[in-house]
């Protein structure tokens, strides 16, 4: 028996109408941006070396950010999903904190800690020769601060949705906890994790304020757009803005597609 879709009620129709306003609010400015640009102008902007460099830097830094978010955020998500401890509420609140902090504030706070004299920046410079102010590492730090919560939250939801009894069964079948994590838990949480990393990646590319304060140079795409706007005005900057939009959207759609694919790890356990 195939379920017959219920006829939309008046309530759903009204809500569709209201929801469409929000959709239009999101889409119309982007279309507006697209229509101001001639193909020639777009090609001219795309050919500028510093524009291309900035976009490439944004993509690279966001990728590194997603890697760090995965490395540090997935274990935290697992702990939050699987164990009960005193102060768990507080830990969860800390994870979400970057979403509530204005990003200029985040940038200044990061600058204080990651600057050359900072609590982390000082020792990092002395021991590893790693500097954050005006470097790729600084860009990644700024991006990670504002975008890590998406990975932690999505992965946590993914882990929580897995019946812990599946992990127990796997243990009794002869696998240690680490193998169970690789063979059962991660494959089952995979879609949620990819969704979280996609959001982190997207958020990282779009970050302006925290990155601009901590690492204005090397210029990421949003910073470069801002500079073009200040120097040359709307025409120049909107060309690059559209270019960034196209690249970001293409990546976003690709990642969402990956996350939607079922059973990425089919055949695990063989």
């Amino acid at each position: 028996m195939t379920p017959v879709p219920a006829r939309p009620t008046g309530l759903v129709l009204v809500f569709w109408l209201v929801g469409s306003l929000l959709l239009a609010f999101i889409v119309v400015p982007l279309i507006g941006l697209a229509t101001t640009q001639s193909g020639g102008n777009l090609a001219r902007v795309a050919a500028m070396p510093d524009v291309r460099l900035a976009i490439w830097l944004s993509l690279l830094a966001a990728f590194l950010t997603a890697c760090w978010a995965a490395l540090l955020g997935i274990p935290l998500a697992y702990v939050l999903a699987r164990s009960e401890f005193r102060g768990k509420e507080i830990v969860s609140a800390i994870v979400d904190l970057p979403l509530a902090v204005p990003h200029t504030v985040a940038g200044i706070a990061l600058l204080i800690v990651f600057g050359r004299q900072g609590l982390i920046g000082g020792p990092a410079d002395r021991i590893f020769g790693l500097q954050f102010w005006g470097t790729l590492a600084g860009v990644v730090a700024g991006m990670l601060f504002v975008s890590a919560p998406y990975t932690v939250n999505a992965a946590q939801i993914g882990f929580e949705a897995i019946d812990p009894r599946l992990e127990k069964v796997a243990r009794t079948l002869g696998m240690g906890p680490w193998r169970v994590l690789l063979r059962v838990t991660l494959p089952l949480a995979w879609r949620s994790i990819v969704t979280g990393l996609t959001l982190t990646y997207a958020r990282a590319i779009s970050e302006f304020a925290a990155v601009a304060i901590l690492a204005y140079y090397p210029m990421t795409a949003p910073v470069k757009i801002y500079e073009l706007f200040l120097q040359f005005g709307l025409d120049e900057s909107s060309g690059m803005a559209l270019l960034l939009l196209i690249v970001s959207l293409a990546l976003f759609i690709m990642f969402r597609h990956i996350a939607r694919r079922r059973r990425v790890f089919v055949g695990a356990g063989r």
Partner: protein, 385 residues
């Protein structure tokens, strides 16, 4: 009960506010034990302790003669099955079965035994090899789970209410299949349940657990007819537990005063004079009061005069309540009730054999357990006899 299959000695465990107290259990090779208890009694915790997910604070656990007290779950060689059978949704049927096989190979058993194909064929699931668990019926899921568990060659099977989400008909079918499988496999098994029917139909022996302690271990008839305490009696559906007072002994029989009646019972000497009389409703006979002269002890049967206060069908059987100075519940076949014309107000004679009365000494703990548990949990079960 030699403990060749499983031996637990004095295992204690505390988990937050819950604790298992001094668990002793012994299973023979190939024996099926049903661990029976209400929700929150500690059944699942006990099972997970055996599987290795909780370490006992004291005591010892040996499976197949091997001390596993300090081993992690992956080294205990137990097959564990939960509700819905715990199949891995990201793997196919073949992948699930291979999981067990693979794990065993890793554990260093070079004689890898049977191949996946052989296992799938043995359980009649070869045609399902490429399906995913969500596309299987409950029966197919059970077979996949058993094949997967068997692939890892367990020394002990543990079942944690695998049937609790199924409808009655499916449950009956799967229970039969499981019993056949366990008999053939010859691997001992513990089956956790709160359903008396599982105990009756699966168990070689039953262990009743309550508040983290084993209350009684025995065969189904033994536990039904001679419960160790008031909790076990109430939990196994003992309908009649009137309080009585021991008067003395008379020709190997105990004379007991209950309300204004005197009953005679066989059995061991009770520890005190204040008693609970356990009389299973299915052991009470009723006949119409016509030969009024033969009340009291007749041979080995107590005959009490009473009046029917309630008579109702429970479906497969009928439940009749008789006031004999104390309320006495009897189970009859529906046909029996029709033939006797039992309706409220009718004068009847209730017959209870002296061997059908089990005496418990009334103590404070038992009385508390009795109050906190709903009585008659086994009513439906009796219909299966």
């Amino acid at each position: 009960m030699t403990g060749t299959g499983l031996a637990i000695e004095g295992a204690c465990l505390t988990l937050g506010r819950f604790s298992l107290r001094n668990i002793d259990l012994a299973l023979d090779a190939g024996e099926i034990l049903v661990l029976l208890g209400p929700n929150g009694a500690g059944k699942s915790v006990c099972l997970e302790m055996i599987a290795g997910f909780h370490r006992p604070a004291s005591g010892r656990i040996a499976i197949h003669g091997r001390d596993v007290t300090h081993l992690p779950p992956e080294q205990r060689r137990v097959g564990l099955m939960f509700q819905n059978f715990g199949l891995f949704p990201h793997l196919t049927v073949a992948g699930n079965v291979a999981f067990g096989l693979h794990a065993r190979r890793r554990a260093g058993h070079s004689q890898s035994g049977r191949s996946i194909a052989e296992l799938l064929a043995q359980f009649g699931i070869a045609h399902l090899a490429d399906r995913h668990p969500q596309d299987l019926s409950p029966g197919e899921k059970q077979r996949v789970a058993l094949a997967r568990a068997l692939a890892a060659r367990p020394d002990l099977f543990l079942f944690d209410e695998p049937f609790s989400a199924l409808d009655a008909r499916t449950r009956d079918a799967l229970r039969d299949e499981l019993k056949t499988f366990l008999r053939e496999a010859g691997v001992p098994a513990i089956f956790v349940s709160h359903d008396m029917t599982d105990a009756v139909l699966l168990a070689d022996r039953v262990a009743v657990i309550h508040q983290g302690a084993i209350q009684q271990v025995g065969t189904v008839p033994g536990i039904f007819r001679q419960p160790a305490n008031a909790f076990v009696a109430a939990f196994t559906g003992m309908e009649n537990m009137p309080p009585g007072r021991l008067l003395g002994k008379c020709d190997d029989l105990w004379r007991i005063q209950i309300a204004d009646q005197v009953l005679y019972a066989q059995g061991d000497a009770p520890a005190g004079n204040d008693l609970l009389l356990c009389i299973r409703a299915e052991e009470v006979g009723l006949c119409v009061m016509d030969d009024a002269g033969c009340l009291g002890l007749q041979g080995a049967t107590n005959r009490l005069a009473g009046r029917v206060t309630d008579a109702a069908s429970l479906g497969a059987i009928s439940k009749v309540t008789v006031d004999c100075g104390f309320p006495l519940v009897a189970y009859l076949t529906n046909r029996n009730m029709r033939e006797l014309g039992l309706t409220p107000g009718l004068e009847v004679v209730a017959e209870i054999e002296t061997s059908s009365i089990h005496l418990l000494t009334r103590d404070a703990a038992g009385a508390i357990a009795l109050r906190s548990e709903p009585r008659g949990a086994g009513v439906v079960l009796v219909a299966h006899f």
